[in-house]
């Protein structure tokens, strides 16, 4: 029975051949698993990269300025009306800058240094203080603590980004001697050994470029830049503070992997901000401005409020237009439409509309609403209408599915008690389909909320400094704001943009959770 043997389950040749097929089988399954893993990894990478960026924008550094509200500066020439004071940026800014100069007198003599120091505070950052004082005139003439966000580059530096900062250990300093030319010599047994080693390894890695790197030595509020070093002694260019601060201290050492010319913050600025920190004038607080401020050219002052309100207004228009019309259209197509070529055409047409690229709707909006009907550019009204056209097919498709799910027995029952077709539909079918219709509508709105391209074409990309108050005001929306911020050059915009994205994603998440909730609460199977 050789042939039977050949077919045996333990026939070696057959098993060998089978092994290859089984391996192919395992490979195939592995590809499937790999595909899932890759897709999920991509999603995770996206969320993590956005999330970490956003996390760093969730807090920011603010600086305290203790100033005297001198009436001559706050209300010069008797301009003491509240609206004058609230607009007197120059006066408040001047007071805050003077307080900086008082702290760092070394900047006073050189104009370039003065400008550099003044960069610590953005001019417009004093506006909230000006408004507060305008509202409470009794503060004028008294001591006042002005708190304002730190310049965005310095903020990023304090968050450990943008300078390639590395900390190095420095031993105890036995003596610090100030030279005539502003230099300080520090001595301590083996105090600078770690610095020397690190610099040597950097030189091995980067070549001669390593010689241009800055090393800052800080003790208390004083900071100096290293100019010469051995294991036991170091000569510093004193940037701020006093040689005495180094006496009997253990200073902190910082090496910056980026040369000064490649950074947005200079050694001098770093020295100052470290001193401010040491003085307890810098604190890291939650960046509430993200939700309370409007757009700005300065990242430390910018926020998403105007965009959030703009999105809200736009969504309102979209919801009021797309949902009722979409639901009624679905009712017609599902319950009333005769089966003929016109309704077939509408049917095909709706499915196609749902797949038309959104930017085409933007072109339609620009041609129809802006050019032909002469509606205002950048207005939530137009944006809402364009998004309504975009959402409309989605609402119809979802509503039809919900209406289809209502069993014919309900209709038959209502028909049997003498209700008209219209009564059956609006008294019985639509209420039963309402949860499904509602979830479809919310999903459609979620899609509209994230839409960007069509809104760019109707001018919603303009810079909007004020919160829009009506659907006819100039406005922008969250996704467009994200787009325009991501176009900005300064590094500080990256975390701000990411933070705005997180706000958008949280809104979308809320909408989708609502859908899940509605489904679990109302879903029924007939």
């Amino acid at each position: 029975m050789t042939d039977t043997d050949a077919r045996s389950f333990r026939n070696a040749a057959a098993l060998k051949r089978l092994k290859g097929r089984r391996a192919a089988d395992a490979r195939f399954k592995f590809y499937g698993r790999l595909a899932i893993v890759v897709a999920l990894a991509a999603l995770a990478m996206l969320l993590v990269s956005v999330g970490t960026q956003a996390f760093s924008a969730a807090t920011h550094h603010v600086v305290r300025y203790d100033i005297e509200l001198d009436p001559a500066r706050i209300a010069p020439d008797g301009a003491s009306a509240p609206e004058d004071i609230s607009r007197n940026v120059e006066g408040f800014y001047g007071l805050a800058r003077d307080s900086l100069l008082e702290t760092f007198p070394e900047a006073n003599t050189i104009p370039a240094q003065r400008l550099l120091l003044a960069k610590t505070l953005t001019r417009l950052a004093v506006l909230p203080a000006a408004r507060e004082v305008a509202a409470r005139p009794e503060l004028i003439g008294n001591a006042y603590t002005l708190t304002a966000p730190l310049n965005h580059d310095l903020d990023l530096f304090l968050k450990g980004r943008g300078a390639g900062e590395m900390r190095v250990e420095i031993g105890s300093i036995a003596a610090a001697k100030a030279d005539a030319d502003g230099e300080v010599t520090l001595t301590g047994p083996d105090a600078f050994k770690a610095v020397v080693t690190r610099l040597a390894s950097l030189r091995a890695e980067m070549g001669p470029a390593a010689d241009t790197l800055s090393v800052l030595v800080t003790s208390g509020r004083s900071t100096g830049r290293l100019s010469d070093i051995t294991a036991n002694t170091a000569r510093l260019d004193l940037l701020t503070g006093d040689a005495a601060d180094f006496e009997q201290s253990r200073p902190a050492g910082r090496i910056f992997r980026l040369a000064e010319s490649e950074r947005n913050v200079s050694d001098q600025q770093i020295a100052w901000v470290l001193a401010l920190k040491d003085l307890g004038r810098v604190s890291r607080v939650a960046n509430t401005g993200l939700l309370t401020q409007t757009d700005s050219t300065y990242p430390e002052l910018a926020g998403g409020l105007a965009a959030i309100v703009g999105s809200l207004l736009t969504m309102l228009i979209t919801a009021f237009v797309a949902v009722p019309i979409g639901v009624l259209a679905a009712v017609y197509l599902e319950e009333f439409a005769p089966k003929n070529r016109v309704t077939d055409l509408i049917e095909v047409n709706i499915n196609n509309l749902a797949a038309v690229p959104s930017i085409v709707f933007g072109l339609l909006g620009a041609a129809l609403f802006l050019n032909f009907l002469d509606m205002p550019r950048s207005a939530p009204l137009v944006g809402g209408l364009v998004l309504a056209l975009l959402t409309f097919p989605v609402v119809i498709i979802a509503s039809r599915a919900a209406l289809k799910a209502v069993p014919p027995s309900i209709r038959a029952g209502a028909l049997a008690v003498g209700a008209s077709k219209m009564q059956i539909v609006f008294h019985h079918v639509v209420p039963l389909a309402a949860p499904g219709i509602l979830t479809g509508a919310i999903l459609g709105m979620a899609r509209a909320l994230g839409e960007t391209a069509p809104l760019l074409l109707i001018g919603m990309v303009a810079f909007v400094g004020d919160v829009p108050r009506s659907p006819l005001d100039e406005s922008t929306v969250l996704p467009v704001q994200i787009f325009s911020w991501s176009n900005n050059a300064e590094r500080a915009w990256e975390p701000m943009t990411a933070a705005l994205i997180v706000i958008l994603l949280v809104l979308l998440l809320l909408m989708n959770s609502l859908v899940v909730f509605l489904r679990s609460k109302f879903e029924r199977r007939w």
């Binding site: 192919a24 089988d25 195939f28 399954k29 499937g32 790999l34 595909a35 899932i36 890759v38 897709a39 999920l40 999603l43 990478m45 996206l46 990269s49 956005v50 009624l328 259209a329 017609y332 009333f336 439409a337 309704t343 509408i346 095909v348 499915n351 196609n352 509309l353 797949a355 038309v356 690229p357 959104s358 930017i359 085409v360 933007g362 072109l363 339609l364 620009a366 041609a367 129809l368 119809i396 008209s420 219209m422 979620a446 899609r447 994230g450 839409e451 960007t452 391209a453 760019l456 074409l457 990309v461 467009v480 994200i482 787009f483 991501s486 994205i501 958008l504 994603l505 979308l508 989708n512």
Partner: protein, 471 residues
């Protein structure tokens, strides 16, 4: 007096007016119906409420139409009347300057009148307000008249025999039909606006130059050869599909054929999340993470090739924004479009076909490859077509990460531009609707619409056939 009327905020006023008209018409009709029912021996066909609805509809419709006509054309008429009345000196102004002037007048009129020193401006503003007042009183008068006539005629028809309910129902049905027809109107609107503006464009630039020209430089020097844009769009969509097709398809196969219900239960919704993330977020991701990574990989490769002696200079362009970066991220975005529909169609393949293959001694992968996939092929092709259509029409990712270089280059690390990128950059500038720059955006939009429409139509048709086959 007329000036006072000119200050009226017509929108809310008309809504209130129509509401009052509707409710009074409703009550009139209802009361009338009750009267005639009480005095008539015949049992009423419809309940009084329906008579009320009928009269209300007959009153409001003409009134609203009248108001709409005035609303749409009133402003234009007012302006042209005003322009005609302006002193001759205004003839020196160009059309745009005149428009700006009238805009300023309308603005100051809307904010409560002009109280400054410019006497001509003040006079024009006052005249404008008078004209508006005339218009507003016209709107109110005509609406009320039309509504009154409608109400009177409708009320006369109220009688026990009158089938008000049927009338109301058919009017409502007409309203429902109009809602559904908006879908068609939208498509017609899209096609009409694209065609209209495109034809204007092709009046200035020959269509052959647009379709086959290889130099695109719309912003600076009116060169409108769109071939590089088509190429860029194709290239990026291709890269996206190279990513999305295998990943999406294998993910669908794994989910429908291998994964247990628990894995399926959480992986499927998580994959759908990819489809729910706004594209601007993908664009940011491309700009922040992927484009720099692609660039450094390309630079590294360049160095490696030079060090190995395989190349004498840089081989790859390694630009900061690149087709590859945009394509990769777009591929990720399109994965759920492939996987979700493929998953559906694979699940729709009847189990008996799988059983047949298993019974012949096929392994699971052989069954899937040779039986399930061929059976689901039409649906899978449709899924891929829809994904391509998505990729071609996708805007934000390419705007943010693909660059603006209109060139035909096979190097995926060079920056390429696409149809959608150019539409955005042409339409966000401050240009009028008669400028060929703006018009060319519509011509590009027309191409985009036609191409995606073709893909969608074919895909939807194929899916429909597939469903018919296995349902």
């Amino acid at each position: 007096m007329l000036q006072q009327l000119g200050h009226l905020s017509m929108g809310w006023l008309m809504i209130a007016l129509l509401a009052v008209l509707a409710s009074s018409a409703f009550f009139l009709g209802r009361v009338r119906a009750e009267q005639v029912a009480g005095s008539s021996p015949v049992r009423s066909h419809s309940r009084p409420n329906y008579h009320g609805y009928f009269v209300a509809i007959c009153a409001v419709t003409p009134a609203a139409l009248a108001a709409l006509v005035f609303g749409l054309f009133g402003d234009g008429v007012t302006r042209s009347v005003l322009v005609n009345e302006l002193p001759d000196a205004f003839g020196l102004l160009s059309a745009t300057e005149l428009d700006t002037y009238i805009d300023a007048v309308a603005q100051s009129a809307a904010s409560g009148g002009y109280s400054g020193a410019d006497r001509i401006f003040a006079a024009v503003t006052n005249r404008y307000l008078e004209l508006r007042g005339l218009l507003n009183s016209g709107v109110i008068g005509f609406s009320l008249l039309a509504g009154g006539i409608g109400m009177y005629l409708a009320r006369r028809r109220v009688s026990p025999q009158f089938r008000a309910r049927a009338r109301v129902d058919s009017i409502l049905e007409l309203g429902l039909f109009v809602c559904a027809a908006i879908a068609i109107a939208t498509t017609i609107g899209i096609v009409a606006s694209l065609l209209f503006e495109s034809l204007k464009f092709f009046g200035q630039v020959p269509i052959t130059e647009f379709l086959f020209g290889t130099r695109w430089n719309a912003q600076t020097s009116a060169e409108f050869g769109a071939l590089p844009l088509f190429f860029g769009t194709f290239m990026i969509a291709l890269i996206a599909m190279i990513i999305a097709a295998p990943i999406g398809l294998f993910a669908a196969i794994y989910l429908s054929e291998y994964a247990g219900p628990s894995v399926r239960g959480w992986v499927k919704p998580v994959l759908e999340v990819l489809a729910g993330i706004p594209t601007v977020v993908y664009g940011f991701f491309a700009l922040l993470v992927v484009a720099p990574a692609v660039r450094s990989a390309a630079l590294w490769l360049n160095d490696a090739l030079i060090n190995l002696g395989l190349a004498s200079g840089p081989v790859l362009a390694a630009q900061p924004t690149s087709a590859l970066a945009a394509g990769l991220v777009m591929g990720i975005m399109v994965i759920p479009f492939v996987s979700s529909l493929s998953d559906d169609v694979i699940n729709a393949v009847p189990q008996t076909l799988r059983d047949g293959a298993f019974a012949l001694g096929a392994t699971k992968s052989e069954t899937i490859r040779e039986v399930v996939i061929p059976a689901a092929l039409p649906g899978i092709i449709a899924a891929l077509l829809l994904a391509v259509s998505r990729a071609v029409g996708e805007t934000m990712i390419v705007v943010m990460a693909a660059g603006k270089g209109a060139r035909i280059s096979m190097d995926p690390t060079s920056d390429l531009t696409t149809i959608t990128v150019q539409i955005v950059s042409l339409m966000t500038g401050e240009t009028g609707f008669d400028d060929p720059k703006t018009l060319s955006a519509f011509a590009l939009g027309l191409v985009l619409f036609a191409v995606t429409l073709m893909f969608n139509l074919v895909a939807l048709r194929v899916v429909q056939k597939f469903r018919e086959k296995y349902d």
